[in-house]
Amino acid sequence: MKTDEQKRIFEEWLALHRGLLFKVVRAYAFSPHDQDDLFQEIATQVWNSVPSYRGDCAVTTWIYRVALYAAMAWSKKETRHRDNQSIGLDERPILQASSHVNPQLDWLYEQIAQFDEVDRSLTLLMLDGFSYREIAATMGISSSHVGVKLNRIKQRLAEQSRKEQENAI
């Protein structure tokens, strides 16, 4: 694939699916610097994945898979190297957080952040409306396994929100 064609497809994907990337970034990285770093990592992986896309699944599914894998790998790498990391002062951030504040959404992301890497991926896919079958295909596990995990996640989220409400009262 020629670089121009790859660039055109990449830009089109980024324009159409940037919201999806932002959700993954927010679920896996928490400080502004980490979010910027992860966004760059995901964008690089999406760019690299363009020539491999054969159209045998929806673009959304493809990008989700690439983004989730990049985030999971980044998350592992980041935990190990966090202490050695330094922030370049001359680096200009790529991501600029929106000024809009939604406390309920912040709370939901906080809950998702408490899950392990795999459960976070499953939660994002579920909340974005993917069916069990699609999630199973994206993750490479059985639908029944997805069902078991998602039921547990739903229960945990509902329970956490109940506790939160009780504390508020």
């Binding site: 966004f39 964008a43 760019w47 898979r65 894998y69 929106s98 309920q104 490479g140 929100s161």
Partner: protein, 215 residues
């Protein structure tokens, strides 16, 4: 709050995106990453295939010069003995083996890693497979590096013999080569044992979390 309420909260992101981003800055970073990676690959290939080509050309030129009677015209040189011709041919085979093993290893790895189902688990399996390949290739680096070093050793042995350079100088060069070989294989093994084994363990933990319903 029920799960359906959480879904409504989640969907609110559709109207208000979480971030904005600097598209030109991102493109610049991607271009930089791409160039760095291509440069790295280029230099790896230059080192492996370039050194092989250089050695094969050099040995080939010496053999051709020998068989066309060049040493007879130069007083300080003598014709190659039978065992020296064999030693140079063995050196050529050593270098060819080195380059071919690198080339075929990479080709096999790429074939093994080709996507079929496009799932996260496949990505993990692929990455585990790749990391294991890199660890395996570095676990006994001495064996991998011996052919090119042996090739250079044989080449020096013949060239020093033909040109009549002191045996002590040859011994010095051979000792330096052995030390370099040991240092290089140790650093490769350390890379495999430290960084790559950590990475492999992380990937295996992720895979375990993915496939084990109890986790």
């Amino acid at each position: 709050m029920q799960f359906e309420d959480l879904q409504v909260i989640w969907n609110s992101q559709r109207d208000r995106p979480l971030y904005g981003f600097d598209e030109a800055g991102l493109q610049q970073i991607l271009r930089g990453n791409r160039q760095r990676f291509q440069r790295f690959l280029f230099w790896q290939h230059v080192q492996t295939y370039g050194s092989t080509l250089f050695m094969l050309t050099l040995i080939g030129a010496i053999l051709i010069a020998n068989f066309t009677g060049v040493p007879d015209k130069i007083d300080s040189l003598r014709a190659l003995a039978g065992w020296e011709v064999v030693a140079l041919l063995v050196a050529m085979v050593c270098w060819l083996q080195f380059s071919l093993s690198v080339y075929l290893g990479q080709k096999m790895r790429k074939r093994r890693e080709q996507s079929t189902t496009h799932s996260l688990r496949e990505d993990l399996d692929k990455e585990i497979c790749h990391t294991m390949y890199e660890i395996k290739a570095r676990r006994n680096p001495l064996l991998g590096f011996i052919p090119p070093y042996a090739g250079v050793g044989l080449f020096l042995l013949v060239v020093f013999g033909v040109t009549g350079v002191s045996t002590w100088l040859l011994a010095f060069f051979l000792v330096v080569m052995v030390i370099t070989l040991v240092i290089e294989s140790r650093s490769q093994r350390r890379l495999a044992e430290r960084d790559m084994t950590h990475r492999l363990r992380d990937l295996e933990i992720l895979r375990e979390k993915l496939v084990d319903p109890a986790s």
